[in-house]
């Protein structure tokens, strides 16, 4: 058990979960007081002591399943007969259909997955080599093609809300099936060639380390959940700093009046309520294809900020720039907003980013929007397509703002390569590498946002 414990903790660290010495000891202590035969309790004991951020949980579960595989409870004999070598696939699909309409936590579900991976999962992986794969299992059984049959069985008539709910349940169970297959495949690979080998490739980077330039659509939805608290935090930092600066002036009359009850000694001081500070923020974001998933993300950030700041104006650009604030009105739907913006906003002429032209146009059309209370936030990769950079124009814009920051989604080593003119711009405006949520959070916490 101790070896396993040490190996597991090591694998977590290798997968990017920061486990301190003390936390490792907490886990070891937890093992002394819980029932080790109860696998779910063991899993949760490890999670409670070692996993302090939800983004690390999916990777944790993958590794836990590898290090502590379920002990198979022999399975009742009659059940097994169904899965004989030559059971026709159609019959197996029938069983799968029944399982998908039932409870995925049923042990029979797990048993079935094990058998199916054993039968369909072994595939040639190059000359003379075999390995285990999920896709061959999923292709053989093709759960998606069972959906229509299941709907027909579950519903007396199709359509409307009942169908929506049924589809939701079915697709959630299909996902569980796919995950169970993937997990069983990993277990088999680990059995053949050692846990360490598979562990390294099995865990995807946690969402907060995901490169903005590489996120998929599904991951964007997750990112969105991460962005909201950050936007709130940024908004509150811009306000709080201000508040600590001066707490509101003394309300002399109220203080003296209150002192009458304590013999003229002013025990309680009354302050005038401060006038609420209205932060002003201008966001300029690159919406070109070279940063398309980044710009999706920046639009999410813009949208979230729009809900927090009363005075935020947002602009998007490719080779020209247009205001997009109106699409992001509070209360609007973010996905609709992005779709409308891409269709209606006038941000592209030739379709290749041109920062110089964008800054010039921006200064012309919206330059007076920047005032002494404005923070200016530029989001983009500083790739100019070898066009003139308009450094002086940018310098002027920056000098008019209270603060200005540039967030660049490219890794620092790539700055200045090819058509990137990151360094030229960063002599004018502080530029931060911002490739993932972690860096965005660090930017918000560590820079002097909001300081005077």
């Amino acid at each position: 058990m101790l070896d396993r414990h040490v190996g597991f903790v090591g694998a977590l660290r290798e997968a990017g979960v920061p486990v301190s010495l003390a936390e490792g000891l907490d886990a070891a202590n937890a093992l002394m007081v819980i029932d080790l035969m109860d696998r779910e309790s063991l899993r949760e004991a490890y999670a409670a002591t070692l996993i302090k951020r939800p983004v690390h949980r999916p990777g944790f579960d993958v590794l836990f399943d590898l290090w502590f595989p379920p002990v198979m409870s022999g399975g009742s004999a009659p059940e097994r007969v169904e899965y004989e070598e030559n059971t026709p696939v159609e019959e197996l699909r029938g069983i799968l259909q029944r399982l998908l309409m039932g409870n995925p936590d049923d042990p029979a579900f797990r048993e079935f997955v094990r058998e199916m991976v054993g039968r369909f999962g072994r595939v040639a992986a190059g000359p003379g080599r075999q390995s285990w794969f999920s896709y061959s299992v999923l292709r053989a059984l093709s759960p998606e093609t069972l959906v229509a049959r299941m709907l027909n069985q579950m519903l007396s008539e199709r359509g409307g809300l009942p169908e929506k709910l049924a589809r939701q349940e079915i697709s959630s169970n299909i996902r569980k099936f796919e995950e169970a297959v993937a997990s069983e495949v990993r277990r088999r690979i680990a059995e053949d060639s050692g846990i360490e080998r598979i562990a390294r490739s099995a865990v995807k980077p946690a969402i907060d380390r995901l490169d903005f330039l590489r996120v998929t659509k599904a991951e964007l939805a997750q990112l969105r959940r991460e962005v909201y608290p950050l936007a709130r935090r940024l908004a509150s930092r811009l306000t709080i700093k201000n508040k600590h600066g001066h707490r509101g002036r003394l309300d002399f009359r109220r203080t003296v009046r209150a002192s009458l009850s304590t013999g003229g000694v002013p025990l309680t001081t009354h302050l005038r309520p401060k006038r609420p500070h209205k932060p002003e923020l201008i966001i300029l974001c690159d919406a070109s294809d070279s940063v398309s998933s980044f710009s999706q993300f920046t639009l999410l950030l813009t949208f979230a900020l729009r809900e927090q700041f009363t005075k935020v104006r947002a602009f998007a650009f490719v080779d020209t720039v247009d205001e997009i604030t109106k699409y992001f009105a509070p209360g609007a739907d973010v996905l609709d907003a992005i779709t409308r913006m891409t269709k209606e906003a006038d941000i592209t002429r030739f379709g290749r980013t041109n920062y110089g032209n964008v800054f010039t146009r921006f200064a012309d059309r919206y330059g007076d929007a920047i005032g002494p209370k404005t923070s200016l936030l530029i989001l983009g990769d500083a790739r100019s397509n070898y066009q003139p950079p308009a450094l002086d124009t940018l310098k002027h814009l920056v000098s008019q703002a209270r603060h200005a920051y540039w967030l660049n989604p490219e890794p620092r080593p790539q700055w200045d390569t090819g058509d990137s003119i990151a360094t030229s711009y960063s002599t004018i405006i502080p530029m931060h590498e911002c490739r993932n949520i972690t860096q965005l959070a660090a930017f918000i916490e560590n820079t002097d946002v909001g300081a005077r």
Binding site: A30, E40, R57, L267, G331, E445
Partner: protein, 280 residues
Amino acid sequence: MSWFAGVPEVGERLRGVDYLADDGIATSVFLAGALGKPLLVEGPAGVGKTQLAKAVAGASGAELVRLQCYEGLDEARALYEWNYKKQLLRIQADDDAWGDIFSEEFLLERPLLKAIRSDAPTVLLIDEIDKADVEVEGLLLEILSDYQVTIPELGTIAAVRKPYVVLTSNATRELSEALKRRCLYLHLGYPTPERERDIVLTRVPGLSGNLAEQLARTVATLRSLELKKSPSIAETIDWGQTLLALGREELDEDTIGETLGVVLKHHSDHGRAVKELGLS
């Protein structure tokens, strides 16, 4: 004191006070007691974080001491404060009182001090810690590491018995690594439809099992829609109560259309749900 004898016992005793725990909840609640470590519970609004602390107190017959956090919370509100007015009045009345005014009589006990000094079993709930300023975390770190407080004028006060500490957070900001390292961590998310059905049935007696099931499944679908504010357990419960009050037996399209406002508060969410669920 040992709080719970084992993980299964936690489940049973929480159920006894109408709180339904899953494996993750039961295990972390057990470990917090057994290892004597604070439990940090993080998750979206209305998933039962605060209620969990209350349930632990209820299930173990302990007293609940609650520190509600907010922006600007300071030591004087969290830990203790000298009753300045009373001290001043005493001195005005008696010039020789200087020696007496830093004594128990003039001490205003706040939740943290109260929990530490209590000699009865105590659950200390530090609610919504993410709302407090970062400095408060520093104060908590000190107190949660050795469960003692030093008051310069009175000396060091050590806990007679360690309180069971629950911290909750809505994750509106990242808490410090140091604080997280010191705590056990429980992420409370939305429950599975099966568990949510059971929760609704315990919280809304009189609701039919069938309707509770439909509610739980509909809410699960709503949560998959990428809404601005996903419905919480609290809202599912409200919905159940509304349906009971209206005497509805089925959650059909019309009923949903009429009562959707109970669970979705944003206009845009409402619109999205109507569209996606095909209501009109």
